[in-house]
Amino acid sequence: MDLNYTASQKAFREEVRSWLTENVPKEPLKSFDTEEGFRQHRAWEAKLNQGRWGMVTWPEELGGRGCNLIEWLIFEEEYYRSGAPLRVNQNGIFLLGPTLMEFGTEEQKARFLPMMATGEEVWAQGWSEPDAGSDMAAIRSKAERVGDHYVINGQKTWSTRAVWADWVFGIFRTDPESSRHKGLTFILVPLDAEGVSVRPIEQLDGLPGFAEIFFDDVKVPVENVLGGEGMGWHVAMSTAGFERGLMLRSPARFQETARRLLELYQENREQADLDPAIGEAVTRAYMDAEAYTLSTYMTASRLMQGDKIGPESSTNKIFWSELDQTMHETALSILGARAELWSHAPDAGAVGSWLDGFLFSQAGPIYAGTNEIQRNIIAERMLGMPRA
């Protein structure tokens, strides 16, 4: 155990910090759930990629830096600390990217990864269906093999980023006789293909953050299958593992929120201390963000020694999503009467973004597999409790 950063890790941090200081947009971008904001974010992804910071853990030949996980964590810490924009292509780079690395053919990797890193192709995810939320085995959308193509029919829903994205990845039923986990195939579908229609769904914040996608005889070539026909469940579980585990929610995001929360508390201390529970909640938030960070460093250390992430990644999902909620609840308590103002309201001031964050935090315990499902996974696969 050596909890110090090495000299090269420190140098890497300096390099990241100085690039970000020079390049992070001075004005915050608009939400990527607006058309203009989406364009701005795409441009930011391109700029990041020019600096070769698009996806630092990828190999150099794919535009990355071949960074290990500890370096990735350092990058993320600097990224969030600099106030850089959220990644519009997070579905691509954090979920599909690692899945492509693991299951993709050489052609698929070369075709998709660089375009993902530049932000030229932004990905939406297509897991859920109207009758299948966290129960992905209930997928009904069909893909029928016809010669060297698949013909897709069906519907996906709650597809994050689908309104302006270029591609969607998801699982489809390729064996019509199959049920549950069998007969599913992981397929990559361009959203401009004939027969695809996208209907935006407004979120709590009034913006079309997700969408329904309808597939009506959509033809995609067999090359778009990832991991082989019938392997969809296996591939998707691996993607979901990345999602619940390390990649989707780097601790830096919560460290930064905890730091801002502490700042907010200090600036409003007189009012906040009227309720003694608030000071404790701020301390708690700080501690929990730190615990999440340490836990990620520990997992990264283990992975670097050849270990694999097991079902304990489900504990991550619960921890960060609940932490995110309580931090934002605490912020709203500090703000008191100002808490209800949208960030663009004239009197909201610089603190209006807490409301956006609060609303978004309500989705945390739902997406990437509800926390109830995560608790079942922990109980059954980590603790070995009897199945229902």
């Binding site: 155990m1 501690m287 520990m298 250390s301 921890f319 059954e380 009897p386």
Partner: protein, 317 residues
């Protein structure tokens, strides 16, 4: 930056773990409740033979010269086993306190550290934040505090009164004693630092054991949820029961790295070690307490009985 334990640490852990599993069973613990001293000399001798009493004693005093992270996983297992003997207190608090005394106490160190390392002498410790001294009755020497100074008093010079604890394994005593110049071994700033470190190490020792207790309560409770059937199914198959245990697992998982970092900070005397230990003590205690509450809940009425082993661990949480 590397957060993992090395091969030696893991192997040491494994061997102690299997020893404790075999020797410190719930039956052994219940048996000790009925004996006069509540302590087992043969068990202490075995612990000493495994080198456990010598872990933190410096090499030049006959010990193994290891540090807090080296012993941390073992302290966790002592919690897991609910070991009644005061091993963790000795290794993590008593020995480092004596070893940190200045050169002027060289003779004192030379006298006591090798005896502790070999298991021949036992030392109990008390601080003004808790007037009761655990295991004073089997100790040869007591380390006591008064007005910030540190005193070492032979047990035959004090008067002990036993106070019964909710946990029959805890042997707690109030001590009547007299501070004299002869038994004073540190004063002033030096003593202040020694006591601050001792409190820190004590909290770390408790944290490590709480983490082990939380794990044990889950294991016992999960086993029970297979045995106990209701509505024709094991109760563990019900989601509400599963979620009680999953919530504890989340607490344990995120207490783990906080605990490890605290041990690292103490071993390397990092400036904010006290804060990191406090963090660890808080989260491990919470994990253990939630484990205890949820453990009782999933045991149903059995959870409220003397009969089930759960109570042994629940009372330590």
């Amino acid at each position: 930056m590397d957060f993992t334990f090395n091969e030696d640490q893991l192997m040491f852990h494994d061997s102690v773990q299997s020893f404790l599993t075999n020797e410190v069973t719930p039956e052994h613990i219940r048996e000790q409740w009925t004996t006069r001293s509540g302590r087992s000399q043969p068990l202490w001798n075995q612990l000493a033979e495994l080198g456990l009493t010598a872990v933190t004693v410096p090499e030049n005093f006959g010990g193994l010269g290891m540090n807090e992270p080296d012993f941390l996983l073992i302290a966790e297992e002592c919690g897991y086993a609910a070991l009644p003997e005061p091993l963790v207190e000795t290794v993590m608090v008593v020995v480092p306190l004596i070893a940190s005394l200045g050169d002027e106490a060289h003779h004192f160190k030379e006298q006591w550290l090798p005896l502790i390392a070999s298991g021949e002498a036992r030392v109990a410790i008390q601080h003004s934040t808790n007037p009761l001294v655990a295991d004073a009755h089997i100790a040869d020497l007591l380390l006591l505090e008064e007005s910030g100074s540190l005193y070492a008093v032979p047990t035959n010079e004090v008067e002990l009164t036993e106070n019964e604890s909710v946990d029959p394994s805890r042997k707690l005593f109030s001590v009547q004693w007299r501070a004299t110049a002869e038994n004073c071994i540190a004063t002033g700033e030096q003593a202040e630092q020694l006591w601050a470190d001792a409190l820190n190490r004590g909290a770390l020792a408790v944290a490590a054991q709480q983490q082990g207790i939380a794990r044990r309560v889950i294991d016992i409770s999960v086993d029970y949820t297979f045995e106990r059937k209701q509505f024709g199914k094991p109760v563990g198959s019900f989601q509400a029961v599963k979620h009680h245990m999953a919530n504890v697992a989340v607490k344990i998982e995120f207490a783990k790295p906080v605990l490890y970092r605290a041990a690292y900070a103490v071993a390397h005397q990092l400036p904010d070690a006290a804060r990191q230990v406090s963090h660890a003590k808080l989260v491990t205690s919470e994990a253990a307490l939630l484990a205890a509450k949820n453990g009782i809940q999933v045991h149903g009425a059995m959870g409220y009985t003397w009969e089930v082993d759960l109570q042994i661990f629940m009372k330590r949480a």
